[in-house]
Symmetry: C2
Subunit: 359 residues, 2 copies
């Protein structure tokens, strides 16, 4: 049977003060009241039923996840006691699903993006499921057909076509976030896709790869499933490592008996990592400012203005150029847009100077 | 007997969103929780007792005035049904006080400034009372000894010394807000004082001048005192005019039987008209930003940051230069500091686009 695990971890300090320690970006109702998590869930509509959709998130967010996804049974919400990087979300999820259904095929999907069209996403995910079902040794990674020489994503270098499938490729190599000129070469060559960080595999296959590559992790996640009461004790002992480093790269290098293949996503892929990317999704006012919520602007240009306080509050700008203004009930941030990617530094300072309750 | 009337009208849109329609700047707790009104009241401590201090304000603010000045009897708060410029506040106050005490000498003082030292202010006000008591025909105006060629104040041109008093002058002429070069000439000459907009006179003398200059006004304010139930009907019929135009200028030109004399105030006089002048009264953070309330700044310079939301809110700035940030529960304003004097325009737009409840 097909399962989907939505990975919704992460603290999202880059969107502070919208996001904060108790409220990561995936849970923010940024899109006509819907969160990225909700959008990720609704993208699966008709593909797999809710009883086979799981969410892996921080335990602190489990209640909010349940509120936003009332269709889910509480047992389908996996709350990590602490963040231990992506491999352990993947490994624990695989062990949980394999325990329910030894033949399960699992799609690991992210909740960090706005994706369109959804039809195309579903078509690619279905193809990836078919590949994983028909080739038990395959770890299928989803690759986004790039539309720019983006330096904020990892890339994967496609090799030959996979026989018997249309548009599915072997993967020659994973590449980390490149410099601008390298990214341009990747784009021009037509041989590279953005690494979507989404995967499809048989749960048993993934666990078998872990047995070879990180046996301690494989053993621990199986133990957690057998003894849920030991979750708090065992989870923090898992080695902190990403799924790319731990599994995808070594397997793509032929170091195990499995293979990495990739299915392309020809979609509009908008990673909502920070305010600059969020701004691309907002509407524009008459002055060309990207705005959300109740805002008024006079002689202001090139600004991003987000009013998340509520309808009883107005955010007004006057003669402002290229600034980022974010107002929430607990904090207001005003930044030069050129510094928007330094928000984490500011959050650190806020934590120290104003107190952890504001960060 | 000596009386003081504190004039606390005005809507103060230049300090929006700190000030707003229901909350003018004189009532804002900007100075360690004290308002300009409270500071104006405390400046009178020891000079006249609270039962001879009156406040003339907009009726909408009367309750807030009573809250801030619990020492005052409610009958000492004169609530104007609508703003009719300074003459009518002055005329109505004079009629009220003359009705209580026909021999009353009244000081009309403003609540728009932070003044120091208070001793010097009291010394000058006492001298002005003495002049008015000893010269029944005198309208005494207070003049601030200028410390700069300020173009935001009116000036008064001193003439010869008044015989029998130390440092009291006849006034030759009132001058409107001058251009920069004219203001510099005024300053260099040593013959000009800033027009403080504060006056001391016998109530009967002021009313007598009005009988000559604006008999309708004189009659109407006497009628209001005789028939308080007709206040709402009569007050709006008063001619809208400033006390300078209506009385001080014509009297200084010799058009009546009275005389205008001036007592100097050698004080630090800070008019809190807008954010630029307010900023001079705020403390500085490590980056040299003028700040008030809970704020955090990273790589920000030359900004004015006011957090009036409260202690459960932080205002954080990042890479920001020469901006004005003001956060309140109902509105957040971010402006280029060069545009700070255009706040009224912004408020007009807010009223139209967001609604009058935000303005």
């Amino acid at each position: 049977m097909r399962y989907v695990v939505i990975m919704a971890g992460g603290s999202g300090t880059r969107l502070w003060p919208l996001s904060r320690q108790g409220r990561p970006k995936q849970l923010l109702g940024l899109f006509e009241g819907k969160s990225l998590l909700r959008l990720a869930f609704e993208r699966l509509d008709g593909l797999v039923p809710p009883d086979r959709i799981l969410v892996c998130t921080g335990r602190a967010y489990a209640d909010d996840v349940a509120d936003q996804l009332p269709e889910l049974s509480p047992v389908n919400i996996l709350g990590e006691p602490e963040g231990r990087d992506s491999l352990n979300a993947v490994a624990w999820s695989a062990a949980v699903v394999a325990d329910r259904d030894p033949d399960a095929v699992v799609a690991m999907v992210t909740a960090d993006q706005v994706i369109s069209p959804v039809d195309e996403f579903q078509r690619s995910l279905t193809l990836a499921f078919e590949v994983a079902e028909q080739r038990p040794s395959a770890l299928v990674t989803l690759g986004v057909v790039p539309t720019s020489a983006h330096t904020g994503y990892g890339y994967l270098h496609r090799a030959e076509l996979l026989t018997g499938f249309d548009g599915v490729y072997h993967v020659a190599e994973f590449k980390e976030k490149p410099e601008r000129d390298v990214a341009q070469r990747y784009l021009d060559s037509g041989e590279y896709w953005w690494n979507a960080g989404m995967f499809v595999w048989r749960a048993a296959t993934l666990l078998g790869q872990l047995d070879q590559l990180l046996p301690a992790t494989a053993q621990t996640v199986r133990e957690i499933v057998a003894r849920p009461d030991r979750l708090d004790e065992l989870f923090p002992t898992l080695q902190k490592i990403s799924v790319d480093y731990a599994v995808m790269e070594p397997v793509s290098q032929g170091r195990t008996d499995a293979e990495v293949v990739s299915v392309g996503l020809a979609i509009d892929w908008r990673d909502v990592g920070g305010f600059v990317s969020l701004a691309e999704l907002l509407s524009r006012d008459a002055g060309g400012n990207a705005v959300d919520g109740r805002t008024v602007s006079l002689d202001s240009r090139g600004c991003v203005v987000v009013n998340a306080v509520g309808p009883d509050h107005v955010v007004a700008t006057l003669g402002l150029t290229d600034c980022l203004v974010v107002a929430t009930p607990h904090a207001t941030m005003v930044a030069n847009l050129d510094d928007a990617e330094r928000v984490r530094q500011l959050v650190d300072l806020v934590r120290t100077e104003a107190g952890p309750e504001f960060a």
